[in-house]
Symmetry: C2
DNA sequence: TGTACATCAGTGAACGCGCGTTCACTGATGTAC
DNA sequence: TGTACATCAGTGAACGCGCGTTCACTGATGTAC
């Protein structure tokens, strides 16, 4: 059954990718090593040919999730403000939020990551700092621009986190909508009170469950 | 060993309060029923004289957490804008964020709550809607004001969530600082680009840990 | 290049452990007379 | 008001289960000659 070095590396990478997806959709603590290995097409026990512990996998999977997430954002940013706006629109869409694929580990596993070990949190922190760095390249690099980037990041993260746990789909959509609209205002996203003009209808609160 | 009805109700309430605190500090999945009961001064098995399942306790504890949290916010709001600003300042402080006591269940257990059952999410949703309602009373009640409330709530929630998981204390403090400063701007919190004037020093990034 | 041996990725079964939950039992309390 | 009995909050031990992890084993591959 022995595999070449390259094959082993591929297998390991595959496990990390499968785990990254499963952790995001099912949570870290609630997703078992055996479950992940079966999904990856291997046996439960094969896990320990690649990782010393579940913690090690959690660190790698979280880091990998962040890398993919940050890279997608970077590409959208490089493609210009319009492409980035479209990217954010898509990121805020309910399809994306509720889907098992994709997604930001900070939103999907945030409160578990806050209790994770130093290595796991380091990987996520590094990703966030990269994200801020890339976003800053779109601005004049001033302290104000950096603050605006962080404020936007906080608002988007918070809005998605809230919309995901709320048991009232009208409220969930409304929270996202508010943040979405604040983003589409020119330059200083999340800034300036909503234009006073026209239609801002009192929203309808829908069926509860 | 039999207790009166009133005593039983007190015991149940005590279990809920202990559980609420432990879920927030240790996470929901990682905190066991036995652990909670011992902390409450009872035996593991006594749990099932009060609750049908762990899920039931999770729902009640999350709801109770939200109630306490919302009530504290309401009191601060009623005491006027200054008191509320002070309340938010304290809420954003690192002592509060990192402490086991107090805290908002949305921040401390957010990603677990998003996967919880309907009843649990209902309790949290109701709390959030109440919070929004109380905040709206401080405003002119316009759609713009409501959007600003939601935007602020999103930004504060996201900022604390990020600051809790980040492994770089300088970044953690910075994220909070940015949101804190945006709040202290008059009326429309989280609004308007930071005053262009003076000191906005390029922040120092500290030791990584 | 061909052979002989060491390596090690993957297997299947098992480990100890802590989880949520159940159960027979206890004895102080609530209730009926 | 006093007695007799039913109730049920809390106990301690045990349950099945799935978790993370270990282990002896396998056989195809890498390596040394």
């Amino acid at each position: 059954m022995r595999k070449s070095k390259a094959e082993k590396a591929l297998t390991r990478q595959h496990i990390v990718e499968v785990a990254a997806r499963m952790f995001k959709s099912g949570g870290i603590g609630a997703t078992g090593v055996g479950e992940i290995m079966v999904a990856a097409g291997l046996t439960h026990s094969a896990f320990y040919r690649h990782f010393a512990s579940k913690e090690e996998l959690v660190a790698e999977a979280s880091s990998a999730s962040m890398d993919v997430f940050v890279e997608a954002a970077r590409q959208a940013m490089e493609a210009g403000p319009d492409a980035f706006t479209r990217y954010l629109e898509n990121y805020l869409s309910s399809e994306y939020r509720n889907g098992a694929l994709g997604g930001c580990p900070v939103v999907q596993t945030g409160s578990e990551l806050a209790r994770a070990d130093a290595q796991t949190r380091q990987g996520v922190s590094d990703g966030l700092e990269q994200l801020i760095g890339f976003a800053l390249k779109l601005t004049d690099g001033s302290a104000e621009a950096e603050e605006q980037v962080i404020l936007t990041m906080s608002a988007v993260t918070g809005a998605i986190a809230i919309s995901r746990l709320v048991n009232d789909s009208a409220l969930a959509e409304h929270v996202i909508d508010v943040v979405r609209r604040s983003l589409s205002k020119p330059a200083a996203a999340a800034a300036k009170p909503a234009r006073v003009a026209g239609k801002a209808p009192a929203r309808q609160r829908g069926a509860q469950a």
